[in-house]
């Protein structure tokens, strides 16, 4: 237990001090922000994937809905960052609730396939509905707005570090809620379903309802990640909804370790930094990314934390 607390402490210290060490290591603040944003989304996905045992390959849909939600709100409705985030999360969550209800009876690889197909629906809407979304050109002419706290105004647009801490606060909030949920009886039930769905059903657990709830919660936080991603870039385009994005989230979770709470964070950090580095080095970075997927699957399926933990046990 002590080791675990130490690990938790180390992770939080690293996150809190990021702006100080990131630049020294040859990175830049926004790279750190991107890691945290994508880590939040990968952790949200892992709530479903690692802790409920349901394979969604379409989380980009909710990520992207969050992104468009915040962008459209600030562009057309109210120039307010917090309100934009709320709308984005609400849109993503409602969509997840409806779609989840449609598909929750499917299992395994079929479930994955249908989630991909539904993600494409939103991709096409964003891609084709020019008048509102800007289509392939993306949604431009909006930026994140200063935060008005009543007693002070924080300029998160020009101050990259301030924006990083805003993201970190929301990340911490989301992580805390997910951790609490997983420790609750509800979370234990999800684990039971993951381990043996049939037995859980015999025990009288409403399996579909639990899976649906897990799906919706997971998508809620994924859309939160999406809103932050849009705010980070001051831009949204249909790529945020593309299946490549979904695949990236899954590989982050697997790479870090699906069975561990912090796994996706580690995975996201490795993935983002590696991609950032390799794509500056060679135009053939896609091959490296692909090779990376293959190698992780073949040789590293438990992920970084999975391997570390097994070492610790043996």
């Amino acid at each position: 237990m002590n080791g675990r607390q130490a690990a938790n402490g180390a992770i939080w210290i690293a996150l809190l001090t990021m702006p100080w060490w990131m630049n020294a290591l040859g990175g830049y603040t926004e790279l750190g922000t991107q890691v945290v944003v994508l880590a939040l989304t990968a952790m949200a996905l892992n709530f479903l994937l690692g802790f409920t045992g349901v394979l969604s390959f379409g989380h980009a849909a909710y990520f992207g809905l969050g992104a468009y939600g915040v962008g459209l709100t600030i562009r057309y409705l109210v120039p307010s960052t917090p309100l934009g985030i709320l709308v984005g999360v609400a849109v993503g969550t409602v969509a997840a609730a409806v779609i989840g209800a449609l598909i929750i009876r499917l299992r395994g690889v079929y479930f994955a396939m249908v989630t991909i197909a539904f993600a494409q629906v939103f991709y096409f809407i964003a891609f084709r509905w020019n008048k509102v979304t800007g289509g392939d050109d993306g949604l431009i002419s909006w930026t994140r707005q200063p935060l008005d706290l009543g007693f002070a105004r924080i300029d998160i647009l020009h101050n990259a570090i301030a924006f990083y801490y805003l993201v970190l606060v929301l990340f911490a909030l989301a992580a805390a809620i997910m951790a609490l949920l997983l420790r609750s009886p509800f979370g234990r039930t999800l684990l039971a379903i993951r381990e043996n769905e049939r037995r859980a059903r015999f025990l009288g657990i409403p399996v579909e309802l639990h899976m649906w709830l897990s799906f919706v919660i997971s998508c809620l936080f994924a859309s939160l990640g999406g809103t932050l991603y849009a705010l980070l870039n001051n831009f949204v385009d249909p790529r945020a909804l593309h299946w490549n994005m979904s695949g990236n989230f899954v590989i982050m979770a697997v790479l870090g370790g699906m069975r561990s709470f912090w796994g996706p964070l580690i995975g996201a950090a490795i993935f983002v930094v590696l991609q950032d580095y390799v794509s500056s080095m060679t135009e053939n970075w896609q091959s490296f990314l692909g090779l990376f997927f293959v190698l992780v699957v073949l040789f590293f399926p438990r992920g970084v934390l999975g391997v570390l933990r097994r070492r610790a046990v043996s």
């Binding site: 990175g27 050109d137 970075w285 040789f299």
Partner: protein, 422 residues
């Protein structure tokens, strides 16, 4: 399970990973190595697609930039300092990546100039970043009008034409030679919309009419239903405004349907990369090229062509020239301003006329003041099935050279209201 067995397994796994890592290291040393990022050099950051749909365009622009850099350094660099090109793959459509790479170039690599992007949307997104950070940016080949129109910025310059300029350049020829009834096949996004509006505006002035049209979703693979509708409308000219891969699909299918034998097919912007990708029988129509390699009477062009051929084995395209002119713009602007300060350079480039060895056009090219848009010559002509045996890459027959100022419209029409930092 014995420990021996386990460690043996682990070993072999390591061996595999090591080989893979070694292979990657080898590869990494390959295509474009970024030279030591030393101090004292002037840096140009190119954030342009190298993968995805626009990869071919992006690469040609990169080659143009590279040649320009070699020439700049051979002539003593920028303000006596060595110039260096940093290249990042923006991808063809992912704004998140493009923006992130722009920030990386500006914040970490401290580039003096930002260049890009083929994709207009990404160019606009990059422009926003560059403006926020006060860095001078040159957009080599993103065409959408607002970049030097309603969304213009003091620090963003553009080499390629606006869509309105291209439409104005071709409309007259089409009406005069092929007829007044036009049917449009237009890609359904900002680029297509502005292009069609431009064509309609230009046609209306000359008495042309629109007999119909369809907005085709970007990425359409099957154009047959649109072509069926177009055939039913029986126009004089079928205006195909689709670009890139959509243009290839549309033209290929139009020719398979034999529509080119029923009416004339034409459009505005066309590129050598696209014509090369078409089977010979589909290389048809009247178009605008923004630069063409075969200009026997214009000085310096032959030399430029041969130097690019030496690098790539192929003739330069308009894209190569965009990249070339963009990189030279940075160097010449700095020399003129005698400074690397973005505001001073931007001021120095107002109304700046490119020297003939960079412009490579009969009438030269200049940046229009208070808009930052390059006003060059435009090349109107017809695509041809194949070139002469000794010039297989000559796929375009220039029939008319249109002077930029005649088609650029007034400054008020562009909608650009520039505000300078105080």
């Amino acid at each position: 399970m014995t420990t021996d067995n386990l460690s043996g397994k682990r070993l072999s796994r390591r061996a595999v990973l090591k080989t893979a890592a070694a292979a990657s290291a080898l590869q990494l040393a390959g295509p474009f190595i970024i030279k030591a990022r030393g101090e004292g050099v002037v840096k140009l950051g190119l954030d342009n697609p190298l993968t995805g749909t626009y990869a071919a365009f992006g690469k040609n622009e990169m080659i143009g930039c590279q040649l320009a850099l070699e020439q700049i350094n051979a002539k003593g660099g920028i303000l006596g300092r060595k110039a260096e090109l940093l290249v990042e793959d923006s991808t063809s459509g992912d704004a998140g990546t493009a923006v992130q790479k722009a920030r990386k170039l500006i914040d970490r690599d401290k580039v003096n100039f930002l260049l890009g992007n083929v994709n207009s949307a990404l160019a606009q997104a990059m422009g926003q970043v560059a403006n926020e950070k006060g860095v001078l940016m040159v957009d080599p080949g993103g065409h959408t009008d607002p970049i030097t129109g309603t969304d213009c910025h003091w620090n963003v310059f553009r080499v390629c034409n606006t869509t309105q300029m291209e439409a104005n350049a071709v409309a007259g020829v089409l009406i005069k030679d092929y007829g007044k009834k036009w049917y449009y096949i237009t890609p359904d996004y900002a680029f297509g919309h502005t292009l069609q509006a431009g064509m309609e505006k230009a046609a209306a002035k000359l008495g042309g009419t629109k007999v119909g049209g369809d907005l085709t979703p970007l990425g359409t693979t099957d154009f047959s239903s649109y072509l069926i509708k177009a055939q039913a409308a029986n126009p004089d000219v079928l205006i195909v405004l689709t670009a890139g891969q959509d243009a290839v699909n549309c033209l290929k299918q139009a020719v398979q349907f034999g529509l080119n034998k029923k009416f004339h097919i034409a459009g505005a912007q066309q590129e050598l990369e696209v014509l090369e990708g078409l089977p010979p029988e589909a290389r048809i129509g009247t178009w605008v090229f923004e630069w063409y390699w075969k200009q026997p009477h214009v000085p310096h062009v032959a030399q430029f062509v041969s130097e690019i051929k030496k690098k790539t084995g192929k003739v330069p395209t308009a894209r190569t020239w965009f990249g070339y002119a963009a990189a030279w713009t940075c160097a010449l602007g700095a020399e003129r301003a005698k400074s690397l300060d973005a505001v001073k350079i931007a001021k120095a480039l107002q109304g700046f006329k490119l020297p003939p060895e960079v412009a490579l056009m009969p009438d030269g090219a200049f940046y229009r003041a208070a808009q930052n848009q390059l006003i060059p010559d435009l090349y109107v002509g017809n695509a041809k099935e194949k070139g002469e045996a000794n010039e297989p890459e000559d796929l375009f027959d220039v029939t008319r050279i249109v002077k930029g100022p005649q088609v650029a419209g007034t400054l008020e029409e562009t909608g650009c209201k520039m505000t300078w930092p105080t």
